[in-house]
Amino acid sequence: MQRLTAESVTLGYDQRVIAENLSVEIPDNSFTVIVGPNACGKSTLLRALSRMLKPSEGRVLLDGQTIHSMPAKKVAKTLGLLPQSSIAPDGITVADLVARGRYPHQGLLRQWSPEDERIVQESMAATGVGALADRYVDELSGGQRQRVWIAMALAQQTPLLLLDEPTTFLDIQHQLEVLDLCAELHETQGRTLVAVLHDLNQAARYATHLIALHEGKVVAEGAPSEVVTAELVERVFGVRSQVIADPESGTPLVVPVARKRAVTAASAVSSASAAPSAVKTL
């Protein structure tokens, strides 16, 4: 039994059902990435896992307990979330914002312990925003701001951390920075990370566990090297492609079929499959 699971949940907003009878297990100590086309329910699933959306049927379990009936602070000590949209209050400094991540560990009479201080420092150091500590959040660039928010989520010191599209609105350099940071957190600190990502190739490169969603259903699940196939890409995204080995990391790399050669794609793929060293599968 894994720490965080969803048991046949039905998810939706008002009358609109997004996913029905969906079951997901997040492997402990994994870097799990949820992928899928727009409106497949990936963010909805993440919201349910982080107890922000209550399933109309089924339940989400955290350490064997129904997450929605647990006290908010108790959940917040185990499970952190980086929401897609957050608001930095006017005139708040980086250090103050990161410090707010300590909220679930504090009380009226224990507002700021030396431990809080230390963890805030460490979180800022881990995300490389230590030098920005006294800057105002409004003044930062998009990439810096995202790292500050991640630092805040880190300061929460939760073994489980959920990230909702952490790379949106970032340029390629900052996207990689954020993902490298996530991978590092997973490897060095042994935290369980769950992220929703748009880019299938980034997901394949960084994830240890991949969940592919399509129309509210789990289509494939497992290690990227086993899951990412041309067949899956076509089924989930409706895109014909070749899947080759990433020259850098050896993980699967999805190369969409070029438009002009679409007609001859079948022959190209069949000839490519004759060279199994480069192309994994059809």
Binding site: M52, A72, D96, A99, P104, S113
Partner: protein, 373 residues
Amino acid sequence: MKTSTKTSTKTSTKTLAKPLPEASPKSSTGSVRAVRTGGGLSVRVDPRAALVFLLLTGVAFAASVVLIGSGDFRIAPGDVVATLLGNGTAAHEFVVQELRLPRILVGLLVGASLALSGSIFQSLSRNPLGSPDVIGFGQGAAVGALGAIVLFQGTALAVAGGALVGGLVTGVAVYLLAWKRGVHGYRLVLVGIGVAAVLTAVNHYLLTKASLVDATRAVLWMTGSLDGRDWTQVWPLLAAFVLLVPVVAWYARPLRVLEMGDDAAYALGVPVERARLVMMAAGVLLMAAATAAAGPIAFVALSAPQLARRLTRSPGPGLAASAAMGAALLLVADWVAAVAFGDRQLPVGVVTAVLGGCYLLWLLVTERRAGRI
């Protein structure tokens, strides 16, 4: 002065000078200092905010002394303080205790309550303009009070009761109307504005139904005034204040976290809807109690938290500094109203409205330039 040195010895011994960004390995949390005891107790103190709070309290006290001393029967400030401490002459004792002190106390409490209420609503709506006088509670209280004046020619007590009921009913109505899978800040503001427009029409209608005497009384009430306030206004207001302030203090930290958006607050373990409901209830009650005592005094709720925030330079409207600012602001405005127009004593609400209006224009321009509202 004594108290302020005490605070500085209490704060941690780290360097107080703000270090340059690149040389700031120690100060991880900006200007905020932690006060800790051996028993694992730790309380956060922002020295600047604490100083602002003390200064504003001082201003409010000074204004109180001046106001108590002025009037047809003048009393020197020294004598006022002596009388307040119980060492005054019998004549001074009577004038201060029976005539002038209650008015000042009402002013202090109303100012602090309005500012607290404004601070709460500005945090909840994440908007410097989302204060209770903008989103219909003032108008709701006015409907209750005007109903009591115009339809029943009610006593002062009935008017206060009407205002209280009107404010509370409006608060509940706005909350319920804005409810839709939770109450979102912006929806709350817009629903409040809609309700305010309807209630304003009702108020205008009630004014046309009144005799000229009642209409004058109604407009005077709607402007907000401290004239003729006595101990019967002080006690209920004080009771409400003493009951509600601990609740507000208890939820102050969740409120700070709520400013970062519902999702982030959820993730940090804040019971979002409950915190919002409790804070809204406290805010509406403070507003209604203040309005029942002195009428809907304009703009204190709106401007006090913002002014306090600019002085403390802290993110978001701080509660304690706001309350002190509200009390100081109201008494200073009352003093201005008493001296500025010669022998025509205007109600304090006129001064706060004009001052607040100018401040608001400035706020709109600067906030727009900063792209915030």
